[in-house]
Symmetry: C2
Subunit: 416 residues, 2 copies
């Protein structure tokens, strides 16, 4: 067991007990103080970040995309601070009582929404996650243990230092937000196995990170992020709408998890729909890979392999398959999909209902782009990621996902 | 990977897709058919069970208590069948739509309650769990993979055979209820690691079983059962009520998880409360272990060790501690408790509220016995066990605990 991690987790558990009883006003005040301090201390943060950037530029893992994720500047710090103010403006889910009922023996039983307790987050070299995660866990009354990537360690130490200083100013326990400073794998492994101290562990990052956490964690985990999403264009669909949704869901931001990776097209509309939409997609820079039927429409469409159906490209690549009917489409989705976001474009009432019922995903759409699977778009505010498992919560994880329901029972001496 | 387990899990996944769309009427019909068949085929079940009992009597693991758990007779089979009829009478949670709202862009977003999918259950030599678990998962629209203890294998094969026969008669997929027939550890280990095929794994049994599952599973798990529960008797409490609750919570059924294991008493009432209640407890056959202050009241009270505070006796043993105030009681509970059921007896309004807020457990009681933490007593009907983790569900796990919420989105061509 890694001693830094165990010691911080024990402090987090104590802080969580305090945080669970802090009023919404006090939590919002702390969020506003932190937001102001981040803006005020931008230069300090940028200087720490510059240290990370310098090391990263010279490292073997350098890539332009990762460098951009690691970079903090005045605008990004201001955006992170703004994010905290938005979290302060969200409704506090803690304390809501549901299902209060009177039992025949006079016991009054209800369920109250309470923080989960200690939340661990393992993430990669994105220092903005440090601020987001601290804000969401603070507002939901939890204590958080952050374990960011080694590339961002100087930025994270600086950010968490500023956050803890303001927690002190606000009179909240500074151990409500802690950073594991040792970026060695052994520290993360200990965090994954602190049953009794960690109530939830959320991995945020690429498939390798998520796989490591799933395989090694003994504490409860929420699996996030993988999005092999589909658009199914039904027989009799409004083909103009279908084309607009296809273009949007693939090209508006191809690198995110709610973009589509495969389009399924009913054979009855394939001749009419595919040639023009393929032209539009190719024009937008999309590489197409298709089943033999789809390939036949355009010489630039490459044959898709079995692997293509299972791949989350996160890039301007789209697999296209012509299907005999909706059953085949649903079978394909439930076989290759990652239970993230799935859409049908249809004009048929019964098939719309059937698709909604039968597709097993966090978010199932009729006649809209999958790109809406997002905390803000769903009206939840900021989010901790998109859950692709079924336990506890599916889809965008807002404040409520960081809470649970505990039974409270009012008696007058009842015994069994 | 164990081939029987993988093959059954794949069939379960297909069955789950069908089960999710089965009407409540059809599920209830199947439950009633199974109930009738169990009663009708009692002799067949008793004969299979006799085979298990014979082997168990001659085994090195023999104990009277375990033998009794393994035993099936006409009455117990009738009770299991009755349990299925009660499940049929429960409201079906599947299909409920919550939080339907219109977003500014015209998207209509709601959450629909759906089955979890494939539920795995690893349990010990209690063949009645086979029937209960099949009934609850069937009613909630899931497919279940049962992995019972080797001692009950003949009984379980017989029971699942009868259940599958009636699923066929009812026109439901027989793979909705499957038994892993290989009772080797390797089969259970495979079940714990079938990510993508198993949506939830529930261990039901003793601490060793639960520990094995927590440590080895990579699929989502719900931790159940451990109950180191406390009763705190506050200053100014109704001491007669407190005594009745103490006797009930300890002695009414000491072998269950919602019985108390430690009683905490405010020092202001210790002199008046403890001597008579200790006499009553001793009279009821309870062995007492106490802190030095508690020991001073009665020569038969043994000194409690550090280990006593952390032990779930599941027996007629009670640890007793005198505390300076409620803060000390809450600290003790949050340190040694297992987040199961905790109770205060008090007459004070503010302390009642504070105890409810600050004690971190699935069920927190004011002025009632902890023995009520139970699906039936809470009005949920039959249960799959008591969750002592915070993710997904806390406390008694009824039908709703076997479901989750999936987002459904109705659009009219919205894109981002």
């Amino acid at each position: 067991m890694h001693s830094e991690v165990v010691a911080k987790a024990e402090r987090a558990r104590q802080a969580a007990a305090v945080m669970a009883g802090i009023s919404t006003n006090a939590k919002n005040k702390a969020l506003r103080l932190i937001a102001a301090a981040l803006k005020e201390k931008s230069d300090e943060i940028i200087k720490a970040n510059a240290g990370d950037l310098k090391v990263f530029r010279e490292s073997s893992g350098y890539s332009e995309a990762l460098y951009d994720r690691l970079l903090l500047n005045k605008e990004r710090i201001a955006a992170a601070a703004e994010g905290l103010l938005e979290i302060a403006a969200l409704e506090d889910p803690v304390g809501e009582v549901a299902g209060m009922r009177l039992r025949p023996n006079g016991l009054q039983i209800g369920e109250v929404r309470v923080p989960l307790g200690v939340v661990g987050i393992i993430y990669e070299a994105r220092p903005n996650v440090t601020v987001d995660a601290a804000g969401l866990t603070l507002k939901s009354g939890n204590a958080v243990i952050l374990r960011g990537g080694s590339e961002a360690i100087r930025s994270n130490i600086c950010l968490v230092g500023i956050i803890q200083e303001q927690l002190r100013v606000a009179g909240l326990p500074e151990a409500a937000v802690q950073l594991i400073e040792d970026t060695d794998r052994s520290a993360a492994l200990t965090l994954m196995r602190l049953n009794g101290l960690v109530d939830l562990l959320i991995p945020r990052g690429g498939p390798a990170l998520i796989k490591t956490v799933i395989e090694n964690a003994t504490v409860p985990v929420i699996q996030t992020g993988a999005g092999n999403c589909h658009l199914y264009v039904d027989e009799g669909a409004d083909l103009e709408m279908a084309a607009d949704i296809a273009i949007n869901a693939k090209t508006q931001r191809p690198g995110v998890c709610n973009a589509i990776e495969t389009m399924l097209v009913h054979e009855a509309v394939a001749d009419q729909f595919l040639p023009p939409v393929m032209d539009r997609l190719i024009e937008a820079g999309v590489e197409l890979r298709g089943c033999p039927h789809a390939v036949s429409y355009n010489p630039s469409v490459k044959p898709a392999s079995e692997e293509d159906w299972a791949t989350e490209y996160l890039d301007l690549i789209l697999a296209v398959k012509v299907v005999a009917d909706m059953d085949e489409a649903i079978e394909h989705i439930n076989r290759y999909g990652t239970m993230h976001s799935e859409a049908i474009v249809t004009s048929d009432y019964a098939r719309a209902r059937s698709f909604l019922n039968r597709v097993d995903a966090a978010a199932v759409y009729v006649n809209a782009s999958t790109r809406f699977t997002d905390g803000y778009e769903f009206g939840l505010g900021a989010e901790m990621g998109i859950s692709t498992q079924k336990l506890h919560v599916r889809g965008p994880m807002g404040l409520k996902a960081l809470t649970g329901l505990k039974y409270i029972i009012f008696g007058s001496g009842q015994i069994r």
